[in-house]
Symmetry: C2
Subunit: 208 residues, 2 copies
């Protein structure tokens, strides 16, 4: 394989997606959801993650429509914002990550929460009709619900894919139970920036 490996980026994508579709159980997804599932699987190398995906009815279609209409994409981590392929965005959508804003450490101390959750305070003016993409911090999903409790405007959809051992599974269960925002989540501990960015990229364009 050292001499014969595939060097053509487009061919690598095409063969990857063909392998995913031949191996993964995607029957329960509609067309937009299937695109999202395929790209998430592609991002993590695991066809079995299909079973952990939970998309609220209509959430994928709502997110796709919002992106076409120009919705901003609010990311909890710079790795998520870096993973969004700008050329796929249908309306030159803004990709916003406020984590490195100089006001965040002070806000986190004042609010008694993580930097990630504090950074979301700076999302408020962009939140209405947005796509919220969480690939790192469970606290971000919990914080989103607290902000909605306090009257913050509703996003069009939330991509809820924090990863890890403390709060990740619980935060995703909670946003689904809450139900106020159409959700696309990966149940359990799995998740991550690459999966969250892959979901955005799939919703942004049907191009493969």
């Amino acid at each position: 394989t050292r001499d014969t490996y595939e060097r053509d980026g487009a061919a690598i994508y095409q063969r990857s997606f063909a392998i995913i579709r031949s191996e993964a159980d995607l029957a329960r997804f509609d067309a937009v959801e299937e695109r999202v599932a395929v790209r998430i699987i592609h991002a993590c190398g695991m066809v079995e993650v299909a079973a952990d995906l939970d998309f609220a009815p209509g959430a994928a279609a709502a997110a796709e429509a919002a992106l076409k209409a120009g919705a901003p994409i609010l990311c909890d981590a710079t790795m998520v914002s870096r993973g969004v392929t700008r050329a796929r965005l249908p309306a030159g959508n803004a990709v916003i990550c406020t984590l490195d804003d100089p006001r965040v450490p002070g806000l986190a101390a004042d609010l008694g929460t993580t930097r990630t959750a504090a950074a979301m305070e700076l999302w408020r003016e962009h939140l209405a009709g947005s796509i919220v993409a969480i690939g790192n911090a469970p606290t971000a999903l919990f914080r989103l619900m607290e902000m909605l409790d306090a009257g913050a405007p509703l996003p069009a959809a939330v991509i809820g894919m924090p990863v890890g051992f403390v709060g990740a599974a619980e935060s995703k269960d909670a946003i689904a139970d809450d139900g106020r925002v159409p959700y696309l989540i990966v149940r359990g501990r799995k998740g991550g920036s690459a999966m969250a960015a892959a979901a955005v990229n799939a919703l942004a364009s049907a191009r493969e």
Copy 2:
């Protein structure tokens, strides 16, 4: 859990690492390797990935020593470079990703390979004694071996964690079989930017 979730970032890390150490089988690793394994598991939410980790004897120690001595970190993807925590680096190490260099598309066309592999041509002056961190493209690992064949200087270690369905498993098997560069890899399809960055962060500092 909505009312009682953990908001203290340091406590979240501490509890996460305790859960990982209680659940994962880490007995075969030495102290530095164990740190790398724990952070990789933390990045992906899967204790079972421990079984897929393959570290060449001495590779983790060599990488740790190289970072202390100021080795640059050469990343195949911006998501890897964004995932490296600058405050953990022991010698203000340079974190280099050449993928967005304007010369890359032309190089890729000239060389008949992916943009990622072409971007590595711009690593040459930094390669001797470096840490190479591959979290995305199998072609980067294959290309590294070709560059060594052609006389490129040896990195101190390679973190080989490309993810996916076409060439990922094969490229990692090949870099291990090749043996010229001390390697830290995840066998099989699994991998990704978060795992590669987690490995760098673990090697850069013992702080948890």
